[in-house]
Amino acid sequence: MSGLEQRIQDAVRGQTQPTVTVLSSLLAVEDELGYIPKEAVEFVAGFSNATINDVWAVASFYPNFRFEPPAEHTVDVCWGASCHLVGAMSIFKSVLEVAGLDSEGDTLDKRLTVKFNSCLGACSQAPVMALDHHLAGRVNPESAAENVSRLLERDGHGP
């Protein structure tokens, strides 16, 4: 068994809550690996007594799942109405420029993923972004770009 398969199995079998489902198993894999490889879809199907089709149906439905390894860092920019009102579009523009991207996605060197988030839950501090899942509020185009640059100076996966 490969190291990847071992990690998948440990994550799925290691769930401690009483209600274990296809979705909970996929979330456990995502927590462990940051993505859902095809080996995980296959293992979760066997483990849950479901078809690969069933598992893929769930995995492809929820946009938090991705199917290739994540980049080193992730930046989420909120586009909820509260953030939109106070300049989210200008934050996107500035973050995408620093990242060298046209829209959300990974940079070619796999150092950064930029995601559009429908609400990060800190609307009173809009506009909000998240740097490796750590929230930063009341940003402006300049501070948002600085935040991304600073994040990229760090190695590996953030907190």
Binding site: F61, L85, S118, S124
Partner: protein, 575 residues
């Protein structure tokens, strides 16, 4: 061995006494999502460092949100036996000064203090020259019931909750009231669901209580995806024990044997604090077999969902807990007959259940005397947008919406003028500035074309384009449509196309009728509220701002000149 509830209460009181009037100062710092976004974790680290550097001994607690999000990072210092003195917008530098001058030196920094809150048991005179925070406009009209502990206690310490009256309600239910009498209290309170539909909670509970099945479930819905609303997550972060106690009492009153708390994966603060509250309740014997020595046995589990707004719809929520795509079910059968895993089930929102402990403690009649008409109790509002004060407040229902904006929230920032309010989440509606002289009442607000909904209140100033904001709301609804019903799936996409056309100033006069047509079909042909209410943002915008749409279409111009900026349309990349 498990202590009796009375013994636990004595222990909690003694620990609380030590915190508020013991030997060491107590510093509390707000670290809910709003605090985190303002830099509270960095400030908390700086605080620990300043205390170590200056060799000052103090108790530091990371608490939830006091509601004054505009002032975050927010921390307060309580010297032994004294009152709480708050400092707003603190940073690493000011923390160091607060530690040396106030915590070590014993003198509040009057020039920097935001205000003070009196400690009820303290005999000390109020700090001189510092305003009473209770008189602040964001606090003066509050009546905190569900949020009574938010920002005051450490959410990870169940003893602090118990010292402030926590679990008295469960104890009362189990020792003084039976299941029917507990339900009667909730009925007498007039409590209505705070998730959006405002259905009477006791009526819902009675459907489940009347079902004699052996396995019955209570589900608590914290799938809070609404942009502009953060009160559910905030309760979980600030006072998860209130919710857990509410879920236990709901289980007792309805005769259920298991509760589920449903949260979106990735919201780690709310999840971790809720998990701690459940584990600590179990350790003290408030969950498990024979709770508090009664014949009532009950368990609570946290169930996580992937990103999906529709998972907050009650039947889609059950699908997600079962591990499937969160798509709504056909009804009937209703959840009270055939719910989670086919068992009878009751579903309530976080806020609804968080009221229950106080209702049982103080009696349903007490609660029913707060509020307006059949809208009893309070409403928890999340204030965001271009307001002077953003934050979260709990005010009695029946308050005038105009007062919330101009009195409580201080009006608009930077001397700008209010253009409209967007209320109740993306499926709610907008209200023009001239139409906000309405009462916060479920029926009154609905008649005005808006809803209380989740409690989100987004205020937009006159630099905002209504067409652009409507496009943003529909982009959200389109992105979040689960796809089960084609009138919603295709209707949302089609509406978004039309609105994008209007934003590009390329709309035609036929577009308004086209949107109307799509909206009617969505309402008629969708299984859940997402499609049924999904036209609300458009219809309410047209109702109050029809001429502005006309200008976009007929004159090919945008009065505020802002709608051409919207080219980073996130939904466009998902279609």
């Amino acid at each position: 061995m498990v202590l009796s509830f009375v013994e636990i209460g004595l222990e909690a009181d003694s620990r609380w006494q030590e915190l508020t009037a013991g030997q060491r100062p107590w510093i509390r710092i707000g670290t809910a999502l709003c605090g985190e976004a303002a830099g509270a974790f960095e400030v908390a680290d700086a605080l620990e460092m300043a205390l170590a550097d200056q060799s000052v001994s103090a108790e530091v607690s990371r608490v939830g949100c006091l509601g004054l999000c505009f002032a975050e990072p927010l921390l307060d210092v309580q010297l032994p036996g004294g009152h709480r003195v708050f400092y707003g917008n603190v940073d690493a530098e000011s923390v160091s000064e607060i530690v040396s001058v106030h915590v070590a030196g014993g003198t509040p920094i009057v020039s920097k203090a935001l205000g003070y809150l009196a400690e009820e048991t303290s005999l000390a005179p109020p700090p001189e020259g510092i305003p009473d925070l209770k008189q602040h406009s964001m606090k003066a009209r509050e009546n905190r019931i569900a949020l009574r502990n938010a920002g005051n206690i450490d959410p990870l310490d169940i003893y602090q909750y118990i010292a402030n009256g926590g679990y008295q309600a469960l104890y009362k239910s189990l020792t003084e009231l039976n299941r029917e009498e507990t339900l009667e209290e909730v009925k007498a309170s007039g409590l209505r669901g705070r998730g959006g539909a405002a259905f009477p909670t006791a009526t819902k509970w009675s459907f489940l209580a009347g079902n004699a099945a052996a396995d019955k479930y209570v589900l608590c819905n914290c799938e809070e995806g609404d942009p502009g609303a953060f009160n559910d997550k905030n309760i979980l972060e600030s006072d998860p024990n209130t919710l857990v106690e509410g879920v236990i009492i709901a289980g007792y009153a309805t005769g259920a044997n298991k509760g589920y708390i449903f949260i979106r994966h990735g919201h780690d603060g709310p999840i971790e604090r809720c998990r701690a509250a459940i584990n600590q309740a179990r350790e003290l014997g408030f969950l498990g077999e024979n709770i508090m020595g009664s014949d009532f046995s009950y368990e609570i589990e946290i169930a996580l969902t992937g990103d999906s707004y529709v998972a907050g719809e009650e039947s889609a929520l059950m699908e997600a807990i079962e591990g499937k795509r969160s798509m709504p079910r056909f009804r009937p059968p209703f959840p009270a007959q055939f719910g989670l895993f086919g068992k009878p089930t009751n579903i309530n929102n976080v806020k609804t259940l968080s009221y229950v402990p106080e209702i049982v403690s103080k009696g349903g009649e007490w609660f029913s005397n707060i509020g307006h008409d059949t809208s009893t109790g309070t409403v928890i509002l999340c204030l965001s947008g271009n307001l002077k004060y953003t934050g979260m407040i709990e005010v009695p229902l029946g308050m005038n919406l105009k007062d919330v904006i101009y009195d409580v929230a201080g009006g608009m920032k930077d001397g700008k003028v209010l253009k409209f309010l967007q209320t109740g989440g993306p499926l709610g509606g907008v209200l023009g500035a001239d139409n906000i002289d309405v009462l916060l009442d479920f029926e009154v607000l609905r008649a005005a074309g808006a809803i209380v909904g989740s409690g989100g209140l987004i205020a937009a100033d006159d630099s905002t384009c209504i067409v652009d904001l409507t496009r943003s709301l529909i982009a959200f609804c389109q992105y979040e449509s689960c796809g089960k019903c084609f009138p919603c799936r295709m209707g949302m996409s089609h509406l978004l196309e039309v609105l994008e056309r209007l934003c590009r100033l390329e709309g035609t006069p036929e577009d308004l009728a086209l949107m109307q047509n799509i909206g009617v079909n969505m309402q008629a042909g969708s299984l859940c509220g997402h499609g049924q209410l999904g036209f609300n943002p458009v219809s309410s915008a047209l109702r109050y701002f029809g001429p502005e749409f006309d200008t976009h279409i007929n004159d090919h111009s945008c009065p505020t000149g802002t709608c051409l900026d919207s080219r980073y349309s996130p939904a466009a990349s998902r279609r």
